[in-house]
């Protein structure tokens, strides 16, 4: 069986973001980058399936971007992917989800992948469109936001997270694509011996232009911090009243109380 996992390298979300000179994306200077959190769940699930299938199966990891994304690729290789594709694109952050999906589909179309894993969304752009668009372009089955995964004899059984804590179960025949959500698994740490082994694994470099020429369908026009709001709400009154007010706010504004 052939497996593919698509990953993105994103800035550490604890970074302080500033708009870039054009004001349409963030300034990358001084940012530390790491693998998109949801993609880590995708890699872990793909590696678990690869381990279950054993000999004769192959797991490829793909990432699009400048040279720095090779760091994320090497992490995925150290976690257990067999080989990698680095789609070289110094302008990946300016591409919309349609173009990114077109690149992935352009690579995958003649490779007969049985299962493709992606994160449910990226932590920086957060469109949640790339996975489903890849599935559509390839004409394969797809389900999203999975928190449970099982594979047996050509059939995937996925547990999906729905609104309000409700779960759904979906079965799909392969070939299929799934997008992975927090709670699916606990990604393994790349161990030092596996980091060493990963150095010997093959990383194929392909220029993005070789895989797609699609134009963008949506353009980001501005990147800016939200306008500063006034201070928070200050509650007043005796303890009993304060508790009632807090409970009312928690019920109204959050999912903590219902």
């Amino acid at each position: 069986m052939k497996l593919l996992v698509c990953i993105k390298q994103v800035p550490d979300m604890e970074s302080r973001f500033k708009p870039d000179a054009s004001g349409i994306w963030y300034n990358e200077a001084d940012l530390a980058f790491r693998m998109n959190e949801y993609d880590e769940y995708a890699v872990e699930q793909a590696v678990q399936l690869r381990e279950k299938l054993g000999e004769g199966s192959e797991l490829t990891v793909l990432s699009i971007g400048p040279d720095r994304v090779v760091e994320a690729i090497k992490k995925a290789l150290a976690m257990g992917c067999d080989n990698a594709v680095h789609v070289q694109d110094t302008a990946a952050s300016a591409k919309d989800p349609w173009q990114i999906a077109s690149i992935i589909a352009g690579y995958a179309k003649d490779k007969s992948f049985d299962v493709i894993f992606t994160g449910m969304q990226s932590q920086d752009r957060g469109s949640a469109q790339v996975g489903v668009t890849v599935a559509e372009l390839l004409g394969v089955a797809c389900t999203t936001t999975i928190v449970g995964f099982a594979y047996d004899n050509g059939v995937i059984t996925a547990k999906r997270e729905l609104e309000g804590g409700i779960k759904g179960a979906v079965t799909l025949n392969t070939p299929a694509l799934v997008t992975c959500q927090l709670g699916l698994n606990v990604p393994r740490y790349p161990t030092l011996p596996n980091i060493m082994k990963a150095k010997k694994k093959e990383i194929t470099a392909i220029p993005a232009a070789d895989l797609t020429t699609s134009e963008s369908l949506a353009a980001t026009t501005s990147f800016h911090p939200p306008a500063k709001k006034g201070g928070g709400i200050v509650l007043e009154g005796d303890v009993g009243e304060l508790v009632d007010k807090v409970i009312a706010i928690l019920k109204d504004k959050t999912a903590v109380l219902r």
Binding site: V70, E71, K75, Y189, L192, M196
Partner: protein
């Protein structure tokens, strides 16, 4: 020149950092309070490959380089100086000399269990009367058929309490001073080995510091490391490499304290502003960071020189000396920035301040480092 880590080293750094953040940082205070690193953490660090980072894969190591090792010790020590020195003493002082001076049989026999952390290594050099002056070794050995018989005592042995594998220095003729010393690989589970005590210390309290007595400890002749009478050279070479590990530990402690001081200076308000707005605090932060950066450059340089198989004696002495003095300085200033809270045991800088001091003392006091550096300058 290029001062940036390679992509492979960045991958390693980030992997180690994630592990430390989730598995070590949350229990670092408890390790100090309990005077013990949980066995489960030692096992996990073994599984991660932290205990055999630069040893070759054929002996069960990870096959990485000295710079990777320095990064591992640094990152671990940012959260926990005790765990950092466990790795450093184990790798540099036990696995290191066995790999460098051992025969093929010895490497195959001893290194795999050390590299996976199934046994923990230690280096038995220091004695009650022989510290910086290793030539004063009073532990003696005699030959008895196909065994050496060792008698004497050792003190301040990091990792000793694990009773794992030790590299032990003993003399066959004390009048020969350093020329009478030989090195042995010792299984500390053997009869004749007694723990006199595990010391109660100011800092790195999770790390064992053990005093031993040896009463007719019988060591098979095949456990002689290198040649008889060459033990002193083995010890000096071992400490030379070990200093990179201690420099990395000190660097990590300094960085850990700096991170907390920087964050605290932004949170803590006095006179209606965060204390980081005061120039008095800003200057402290600038001085702390500059010393950290210079320590890092020296430490990484020493590691890279060792990787390149170039002479690194001067650099390892300098990085150990400078990083350890940076650690005591930065932890002291971090405590000062925390004010009274820094002196309270609930705040991590209190522990880091205590952990830092030993780095100026062990694996060659800083006075000895200055001797090494000045001798090389004048030779």
């Amino acid at each position: 020149m290029n001062f940036e880590l390679s992509q492979d080293h960045k991958v390693l750094q980030s992997a180690v950092r994630d592990f430390v953040e989730k598995e070590i940082k949350p229990i670092a205070m408890k390790i100090d309070e309990d005077h013990a690193i949980p066995d489960s953490l030692v096992k996990q660090m073994g599984e991660m490959g932290f205990l055999g980072s630069y040893l070759p894969e054929e002996y069960g190591g990870a096959g990485l380089d000295m710079l990777s090792y320095a990064i591992v010790v640094e990152e671990v020590s940012k959260a926990c100086g005790s765990s950092g020195v466990l790795i450093s003493a184990h790798t540099s002082l036990a696995s290191g000399p066995i790999y460098t001076f051992g025969t093929e049989e010895q490497k195959k026999k001893w290194l795999p269990a050390l590299n996976t952390g199934d046994t923990i290594g230690c280096f038995l050099l220091t004695e009650p009367g022989a510290g910086s002056d290793a030539g004063g070794t009073a532990t003696t050995y005699t030959r008895d058929g196909d065994h050496f018989v060792i008698n004497g005592s050792k003190t301040f042995i990091t990792n000793g309490g694990y009773l794992g594998t030790g590299v032990l220095l003993a003399s066959f003729d004390r009048s020969l001073k350093h020329k009478g010393i030989s090195a042995f690989i010792v299984d500390l589970q053997s009869p004749g080995v007694t723990i006199l005590k595990n010391e109660n210390k100011m800092g790195i309290r999770g790390s064992y510091t053990t005093a031993f007595a040896f009463d007719n400890l019988r060591v098979p002749v095949e456990n002689l490391l290198g040649h008889e009478g060459k033990g002193f050279n083995i010890a000096m070479d071992t400490l030379n490499g070990g200093r990179i590990g201690i420099a990395s530990q000190a660097l990590g402690i300094a960085e850990g304290a700096f991170e907390r001081a920087l964050a605290y200076s932004k949170e803590r308000k006095q006179f209606d502003q965060a204390i980081c707005e005061f120039q008095a605090i800003q200057f402290k932060l600038a001085d702390m960071w500059t010393r950290i950066e210079t320590s890092k450059l020296l430490t990484y340089k020493a590691a890279c020189l060792k990787d390149a198989k170039k002479s690194y004696t001067m650099e390892s002495a300098m990085c150990k000396m400078h990083a350890s003095e940076t650690a005591t300085y930065v932890t002291k200033e971090a405590m000062q920035i925390h004010g009274g809270y820094g002196y309270i045991a609930d705040y991590e800088v209190e522990r880091m301040y205590r952990d830092a001091k030993i780095t100026e003392i062990y694996e060659g006091t800083n006075e000895v480092q200055r001797v090494v550096i000045s001798k090389l300058l004048l030779s």
